[in-house]
Structures are given as C-alpha cells and as structure tokens.
Subunit: 146 residues, 2 copies
C-alpha cells in the first residue's frame, strides 16, 4: 500500500497534469501532518521557480527553522539543483522520493550533506513522468534547464 | 563608479527595505539588458522561496535554456543554497556578487561547477546588510534557515 504522504504528492502531480502542467507533486510533512502541498506550476503560473517542491514549501508559508529541521519532504521525482538547494537552505533532514529513473537530481550532494533519502521506485510516479516526457519533451527540457 | 547592473540590484534591495522587507536585490542580465529584477519578498509576500535572486528569475518569466546560458545574474549578497541551486539548474554561467562579508553562501560549490564569480565588495551592500541584521536578527535568521 502506498504511503499516504507519497499518495498526497502523487495526487498533486495528477492535479498538475489535469491543469495542463508538469506532473510533479510534493508535500511537506511535520509531526505526521501535511503543512504544505504543491505541484509544478511552470505552465499554470508562468513561473520558472515553482517546481513541485518549491510550491509545497511556498504554500507552507514562513516557518521557523525548528519546523523545517523536524520535517520530511515528499516528492514524486528526484529533486533538481534548485529544489535540493532549498532543502539544504532550510535543513530539511529527510526526503522521500517517488522515483529517480526518469530524472536524477542532486541526490549525491544531498547525501553528502547529511540528508536522509529514501527512494520508493513508484511505478505510478514513473508512468506519470514517462507519459509526460513522451508527450511534451520541449516543456520537460525547459523545466530542467536543457 | 558602480556598475549599472549592480546599481539596479542595490536599488531593488533598497526598495525591499522601504517595504519593511529584507534588503537583498538581484537582476538578471541578457545581452546587456535587464530581463528580470527582484528583491527578497519574505515579509511582503509571506514567501520562504522569494529570495532576491528567485524573485528576479521569476519576474524574468519562462526563458529558454539558451537565454540563461548567455546571462549574468547580479545579486547584492552571496547566494544561499537555494539560489545557488537555481543558478546551477538553469546553467547561468556568470554571477556578480555585491558582497560576501555579512553572509557567504555556496560560492565554493558554484565555482566547482564552473560558474564564474566576481565579488565586488560593495560598501553600499555591506552597509545595507549590517543595518538590517542589527535591526532584525530574528528575521535574518529565518531567511537563512537558522
């Protein structure tokens, strides 16, 4: 059975796809509760910085360091340099990744800096990305700076 | 005489201070023109992701990789992990930093990844940050995840 938090991230990714966007979702979890959820909004908001993880953190609003340092970030896809840097800025200690097969971000850097990473290799996440990359390769390349 | 692009970044920082915010500003320059300008909006927008550099990139909107790869980012302060990760994501090759005395971000990582960095040691930038950190240390710590 899928972890409920990863399921919430996947639900966000699917919502993004329905909106015509990039299907990557994320939730920030503190004390077993979701305090921020989001999905990539490049298309919907015309934003180059609202990746799923960034949107989730933005929606969580301003939080004290103590909250970030006791939180876990769930994301459907391995985080890029921007999202990884944000994880480091706020000292989020734990990251659960849906999949890193269609794209691998800065897991090595995060690991080196002490972030605990769990990759669950979710077929649901892989399918979402494979379908999207096949249908809109230019949009995907734009999102990862290529 | 101050470089006109760094002056534009400083003007953004001062605007942020006038708004009651954190005085850090940034501009993205492509072909000798500013295509995005911004300043830290933690206070003004209640956003943990709108650092000055992020705001400038967001205001530049969606750009093709070819634009980022021929752009220079000016920022009044050494960029944190988040902003540095964003520079890496988009492959921005050149970074001009107002000062890195009050805070030093991920310059070593950026340098290692091939980003050309110039630090101009601007007294105007140092004064803005020193005054702000003295007046609002809690807000500053929140912004850098401490």
């Amino acid at each position: 059975m899928m972890d409920k938090f990863m399921q919430a991230a996947i639900d966000e990714a699917k919502l993004g796809l329905e909106e015509g966007g990039i299907p990557i979702g994320s939730v920030l979890v503190y004390k077993d509760e979701i305090i921020g959820r989001g999905h990539n909004r490049r298309v919907q908001s015309g934003s180059p910085i609202l990746h799923g993880e960034m949107d989730a953190l933005n929606n969580a609003g301003r939080q004290p360091a103590s909250v970030y340092k006791a939180s876990t970030l769930y994301t459907t896809l391995s985080p890029c340099s921007m999202c990884s840097g944000t994880i480091l800025l706020y000292g989020i200690p734990k990251l659960v990744i849906g999949e890193n097969q269609t794209f691998q971000g800065e897991e090595a850097l995060l690991n080196e800096r002490g972030v605990a990473i769990e990759v669950i290799h979710s077929q649901a996440c892989i399918s979402l990305m494979n379908g999207f990359i096949r249908d809109k390769p230019e949009l995907w390349n734009e999102d990862i700076g290529e």
